[in-house]
Symmetry: C2
Subunit: 161 residues, 2 copies
Amino acid sequence: MPKKSNNLAIDEPLDTSTGCMPTKLDALVGYALRRAQLKVFQHLVSNLNKFDLRPAQFTALAIIEQYPGLMQADLANILAIEPPQAVVLLNKLEARSLAVRVRCKPDRRSYGIFLSKAGENLLKELKEVARLSDEESTAALTAEERDQLVALLHKVYLPEA
Amino acid sequence: MPKKSNNLAIDEPLDTSTGCMPTKLDALVGYALRRAQLKVFQHLVSNLNKFDLRPAQFTALAIIEQYPGLMQADLANILAIEPPQAVVLLNKLEARSLAVRVRCKPDRRSYGIFLSKAGENLLKELKEVARLSDEESTAALTAEERDQLVALLHKVYLPEA
DNA sequence: TATTGTTATACTCTATAACTATA
DNA sequence: TATAGTTATAGAGTATAACAATA
């Protein structure tokens, strides 16, 4: 019979030191998504620390490259953040001369946002860092499984499909 | 030839109103994970709002059910939060009489944490809510794809495997 | 001296309302 | 009046240091 070491409902003390305990919640998509996202995200955060950048700042640079001249409101929409957050984010990028706001001629309320040459160069490097960080934090997957995972995730969050 | 409507690098204004813009970043696992997680998580948040509960509180209830009598430090470890966060979380659960702290006889510094009968009953309901929320927010997936996704996510964040 | 839980604190992220300047 | 951007502020979530009680 099992030994009884104390008066609690569990006889064996839990060993929660291994970093990640499997629970019954793992069957939920939302729970599994959260745990996996947290791991991959934190790995990227530590890789971007060397550049004194946050993931959202890297994302913003990539979006500005893809849509040069876009307005702040569009950047906020694509990043899924509120306009006030876009302001502080852009302030930091502009203070580091990675991006610039250019007053729009036809509508002088808005700006066109562009990457600086320095921003372009840094982004090129960051993309490789992100790709590598991705592979490292999902090293348990084969390349094929990684593609499968990304395809399934797209089905979840991209419209139409 | 394409019409030129302004002096920006893009000729056509962006339509970012559709909720989610595809970008080149979608090829990154981390980015896709984040977007999908955000969508599924926010759906759960709005479903749990009816119960005035946050996802972490639901998770805590489920973990306490699985490991009745566990210590606060273990709960913190499994939830991947810091001990001070576990304190406020448990304070709220205890204030609503969903969980209880019981002083541990052999080591009077620690508590054993248990669900109340009300906590057990509520958790039963919450599990169904979470399962349904999961299915709704991943309605673009077949049941088989959902299982595939969960299996791939486990490979990413669970040890050994 | 070390450990469990706690308090206090701070820093980030997020969300909202109110303001400005243009339209 | 409506819109683009901004400011101010408040609420979560998260992390650390310092403390009390117990071992």
